[in-house]
Symmetry: C2
């Protein structure tokens, strides 16, 4: 066995072999190679992250600076002194580093040479991605995996979903029954990867996603994960299909003038899905958008809306929940 890492608890698990070169595929897809000097801001101590990403970066030939959990000020110094071209770590730590650099009087985009960032371990918010790319000139890539199974999926330059690695078998299942869901449905990401060190059969990640089978313009032929919509416990199951809060938030980004609430009730043994729409300003009428809303909702959440309620401006309170489950299971 190569090494052992610790998870809070503590849960001890063997580390996947350093010979597997996990994540190399992801770094390659992000365009990282021999010319790159990469800051690896994941911790190398106890957790598996630092050493695992280090191995992947070395596999594509990049020079690695194992900066780990050094302070943001030290990371700024390294980026400057060593002409760092890429970053791997969490998005929030990169933003902290950029803020520290600007605080120290640097113009991050023009003073430094960092042009790429590969993120893992934390969701990348679309607004943050936009800032990294537009404001600071950093091309961003998401990588998805778990310590227990290694790399699972990664983004290519098309950024239309995450390509699933060839070595892993990904299933989308109903977390309650463990049964595979029909194509295109939202469900728990369950991963199987064969290896001789730490073989987990059908490892439940607790993450919600769905699979896209359509081909990617990049030319890779793998299926893709459609991002992570949230965690299993956050979702509601409506007529056998899961709806996650993050899906509603996506819809809300399209319909910026309205507030949304989703209610699931059970009438004569059937789930009834109601959407409440409230105009953000009293002058807006929500009725004309109803049809487009139904289409977008079906696209994103798969489930069909049964009823739509148009409520007056001021009806939904700030602390009202986004999704309400009125069903009882007596």
């Amino acid at each position: 066995m190569d090494r052992i890492f610790i998870s809070p608890g503590p849960v001890y698990e063997p580390h996947l072999s350093e010979n597997d070169y996990l994540w190399a595929r992801a770094y390659h897809a992000a365009g990282i190679g021999k010319e790159d000097i990469v800051l690896n801001a994941f911790s190398y101590h106890m957790v598996a992250a630092g050493l695992t990403f280090h191995g992947g970066l070395r596999r594509v030939g990049a020079t690695v600076i194992p900066s780990g959990t050094s302070s943001s000020q030290q990371q700024v110094q390294l980026i400057r002194d060593l002409n760092v071209t890429a970053y791997t770590g969490t998005p929030s730590f990169l933003m902290a580093i950029i803020q520290k650099a600007e605080e120290l009087g640097y113009d991050f985009k023009s003073d430094f040479r960092m042009r790429r960032a590969c993120f893992a371990a934390e969701p990348l918010q679309p607004s943050l991605r936009k800032r990294f790319e537009k404001e600071f000139g950093i091309d961003t890539y998401q990588m998805y995996g778990a310590t227990e199974v290694g790399d699972v999926a990664y983004e290519c330059s098309e950024k239309q979903g995450w390509h699933i690695c060839e070595e892993v078998l990904v299933e989308i299942v109903d977390p309650e029954t463990g049964k595979k869901l029909p194509k295109g449905c939202l469900g728990e990401v369950v991963v199987t990867r064969f290896n001789s060190i730490f073989f987990l059969f059908r490892f439940g990640t607790g993450d919600l996603s769905k699979i896209t089978e359509s081909p990617c313009p990049c030319g890779r032929t793998s299926y893709r994960l459609n991002g992570i919509e949230g965690r299993v416990g956050d979702a509601l199951k409506v007529r056998g299909l899961f709806i996650a809060p993050s899906q509603l938030k996506k819809i809300q980004e399209i319909f910026k003038d309205v507030k949304i609430q989703l209610i699931v009730a059970r009438i004569s043994h059937e789930d009834i899905l109601t959407i409440r729409l409230e105009p953000k300003e009293a002058s807006i009428n929500t009725i004309p958008i109803e049809e487009k809303f139904r289409t977008v909702f079906k696209d994103i959440c798969t489930v069909k809306i049964d009823r739509m309620e148009h409520v007056q401006h001021g009806t939904l309170k700030e602390d009202d929940r986004l999704m309400i489950d009125e069903r009882t299971w007596k």
Copy 2:
């Protein structure tokens, strides 16, 4: 290039290749192998230590726990939970870990399975070594090297000097002239190691040592370094030979009843070496030990004593220097 590390300054240097498996020879000589679970308490972040020792441990087949700079309490937990059999790190940190364990109510020797420790980066005091071995049942090994050149020498179970690694060329030189000193003399350790990444020709370590050519009972045929006697700046040169404070301290360990002071003067263009002996208690007479003292001094320091002064108990003050250079170089 594999990775870059930082030294205070900052000085940036490329890391020696992970393919060289530095330190594997040292761990093997310490008896570490496939059955071992080793706590690597060197930092993996920025400095070269953690990753380099990790590579050596993997090379001999040991399972590594990359605990790095985790707290002593966490290290205790790991030693206990994972049945750790060996430690690599500094001696002072291992003592801190043992003290924390005893503070937490454990009996380190009987509750844990740690039986070996391989130290680097810090001198191992003989008194501390004795405690590790006798009190806590930990067989200790010293490893010697420098970030710039990798592993230089290591101890075998005979613990009679440090075997010099086959890949390095070690010279003992006069730090003032850079010239090689005669066999068996104390001088600066200068190392040359061929490699394609970071080739330093005659790297001056600043450490003082001498070479032993006599065969080791372990069967290894390499020359050996006779420990590290101190740093270049701490030594005095007497008739072309260096004397380090640590050598005097060794002598003091043999003659426990006396205090020692060394004085170098220059009379008619010659160095005159005087040793002052003071009894630690008024009742002790230092004259009878003079002959044995001269012999031991010659063995350890190579230089011959010119004069011996027997001073009264209470003459040497607590803050008097161990070595005094009275020469002027006008």
